[in-house]
């Protein structure tokens, strides 16, 4: 079955062979998210200012398969960074992608790095 969700597989930092230059830090809201287009993928990127960390995951919520996660609110639960989907408040760990309040499949997460004030996303391309 050819499903949109199959496009999204977690990438580990050590497997990255393409660092995609996205936008300057200033393009992202503080303690909020924005959506990045990379080829035919939509990646949600979060500037978690309070934790001084950046996170990236698929923009697709696996609950109802809508491209909305970048518009979700971020926060933490027991110190684990998470995002809440704006549609039905399904929450996902931004560290592991795991669904924290249900049995949905985990979302894919991607490495983010900051260099010279720019945000880069890590992908693994054949």
């Amino acid at each position: 079955m050819d499903l949109v969700i199959d496009q999204y597989q977690s990438i580990k930092e050590e497997d990255v062979n393409v660092w995609f230059k996205v936008a300057p830090i200033s393009a992202f809201p503080k303690d909020g998210g924005a959506c990045v287009k990379y080829k035919d993928k939509q990646i949600a990127v979060y500037n978690f200012t309070r934790k001084e960390k950046w996170y990236a995951c698929q923009n697709l919520c696996p609950h109802k398969m809508e491209m909305v996660l970048s518009r979700g609110m971020i926060g933490d639960v027991s110190r684990i960074a998470k995002v809440a989907c704006p549609l039905h408040k399904k929450t996902f760990s931004l560290e592991t992608g795991e669904n924290l309040n249900g049995d949905l499949p985990a979302i894919a997460t991607y490495p983010v790095k900051i260099e010279d004030g720019f945000v880069y996303l890590g992908f693994s391309e054949l």
Partner: protein, 847 residues
Amino acid sequence: MQQIVVIGNGMVGYKFCEKLAGLAKSGTLNIKVFGEEPRPAYDRVHLSAFFENQDAKSLELAPASWYSENGIELITGQYITDINKEVKTIKTKSGQTYSYDQLVLATGSVPFVPPIRGVEKEGVFVYRTIEDLEGMLAYADKINSKKSNGKAAILGGGLLGLEAGKAVLDMGLEPHVVEFAPKLMPRQLDARSSKVLQLTLESIGINIHLSKATNKILGNGCITGMEFGEDDELNVDMLIISAGIRPRDELAKSCGLETGTRGGIVVNNKMQTSDPSIYAIGEVALYNQMIYGLVAPGYDMANVAANQIVGNTEVLMAEEIDMSTKLKLIGVDVASFGTPFMPADKGHSVIFENKTKHLYKRINISHDGKNLLGGILVGDAEDYNILHQMYLNGMAVPEDPAQLILPTSEGGGVLGDITDLPDMAQVCSCESVTKGQICGAIESGEASDLGGVVSCTKAGTGCGGCKPMVKNLTEATLKSLGIEVKDHICEHFEYNRQELYDIIQVKGYQTFDEVIDNHGNGCGCEICKPVVASLMATIHADTANKEYAIQDSNDRFLANIQRNGTYSVVPRVPGGEITPVKLIALGEIAKKYDLYTKITGGVRIDLFGATLKQLPLIWKELIAHGFESGHAYGKSLRTVKTCVGSTWCRYGMDESVSFGIELENRYRGIRAPHKIKGGVSGCIRECAEARGKDFGLIAVEGGWNLYVGGNGGANPRHAELLAEQIDNDTVIRYIDRYLMFYMRTAKPLQRTAAWLESLEGGLDYLKEVVVDDKIGIAEDLEKEMQTLVNKFECEWTQAVNDPEMMKRFNHFVNSEDDDDTLVFVPMREQKMPKQWQKVPLKAASIS
């Protein structure tokens, strides 16, 4: 070691394992359970929930690991083909033989497929297992991809059939329930309650066909319709059969156990079959010449069999089995208990019916008026638990039994407090949990909240019908022990909303970080951030633009996110009054951006389907035509609905339109714990339905009557009279005080209705604060409200005039492109989002 073999791992088979594991001394029994389905036992009662989330895992009764932890060997995906009673062995389809000392048959039942010509055609399904449901979903997808108006019939108007009707609706097909009998749920309902239920179902789009005998399934290869009689056909693309069950007694028959003439394995009150070392339980067992298709009797049977096997021979099946049942069927309460139909020689019935409200209640009382014998409730079964308890425990019926079902104007009613029930009263019949056990769990310290009660007593884990009662009992018991029920906002703040309000106001904090750094811990979350945002708005009159990352999703984008992630646009139309020029402007804008338009229940015009990027473009045009943000997104004042009042109406007592507009403009944009609506009716005919609102006004001789605390959301509530015959200025003063008092003291997301109910002292206390100013805060409340009123700014005007803010509305941060995954489908000359995509089942069912 004794060998126990269980054939069948449905709900009852599982319950038997659980009971037996609990009773047996460890190491004395070797338990093996065989299941045909590929997964461990799941909750078949709530099977239709699968259509909503397609989450097979959430239906599981216990994970596979539970079996091994309890020393039980679970063998799934395996059929048993033979039983040899003489040598006490069973044989599996794959040829293995196992021997047993005691054998338990929990093989359940199969859906009954009537012998109709053409029933083998493609597109005909039964409704029983998760696999059946998966098959239906796949087939429905196929139909939906070919046409937009697919239809599906459900054969059988029983409980399961009606559930299937809702499932079909969710699949995007038009449902048609076909029933042979002249009424729905023929075993539970009488003709009048069936009619009430039918009207309710039809109103949500489920078509009902009664007294229809199906002759033939039409179609060449796959189903295209059903034929009932000459020239009587129904075209459908799919058929789901739910026409009753047949016990799966074929194994029993082939090994020579005694069975009933119409099927079922004959058992005694020990649940033993004609062979004393073989037991039968659940829907396969024929007890008292009846098959019991409910989960509660099945669980009782499991309990009896398990006790018998471990030697507790005094545990026997009750002679009379309670077949009472309560369900929330498609959002409609349906309950029947005791003897639902009452022959006149046994007792008399009291019936209350209100067709406009889809309500029907019937109770049957013994001739001497002392005992409740049974009844039927449709539309509102809130009193089911207590009525059921009265029936079960033979509690005294009031002198006028009609009081038990008549709606009371004073609230409360004559029904006793649940804390008055005897300790023996069974609260959860599925798990046989008594009131005493629930209270005992709390009193002994074993449980300290609802979750604890559920996990240590299992109450509420069967059909779930008793949950409200368990919750009430738990809370009442905690309260009686003087235990405070905590209302902290979330893990980040050890304060409730009111305490945070005071902190922010006294310290003058302006940002979320200041509040959490000084008074909380961690980084915040989707619960506390919007609460702080709302408090900031109430205290400083900030718009949602100021700190948009802590706003709830809808406030962040100043629009309401809809099913496919697009937004709806709702400009303010105060009081529902709009000029033709503005109306045309709205139409032109909607046309230009290809938006779906609808008049809302709150007398406004809603434009749907705007993408994130279109939002500021649309709003720029709206603002140019003189519109402003309608706050359809915030927890804020939505609308003030008005009738036409004395402006045009020949009955109008006062200018409801003018006053409605004034009130809507006064309170626009204020942020509250929940959304607020108002209504103003020009006379007692109440065309604006003002008493269904958070505040409502009705013009009467000599001024306005002011009602408060109506609406209630999921639990509708009429507003109550706060003040009579007051003039416009007094109305405004009172509403200022009332709303501000609510905004300061309510819990997060608590509506005015729930707030008023939880207010100590209730309406009388509210009158003291708002009307009599007994606690001397009226002036402060009015001042605070006036500050909010003066500081109002249209946040959309702010946003479109600030290039920095406009950035928020790009779908991508690194591209001007639109989201190309959006798909709309046609709908009555407009458009709507495509069906929800299905969650990939594999991903969802594998842990």
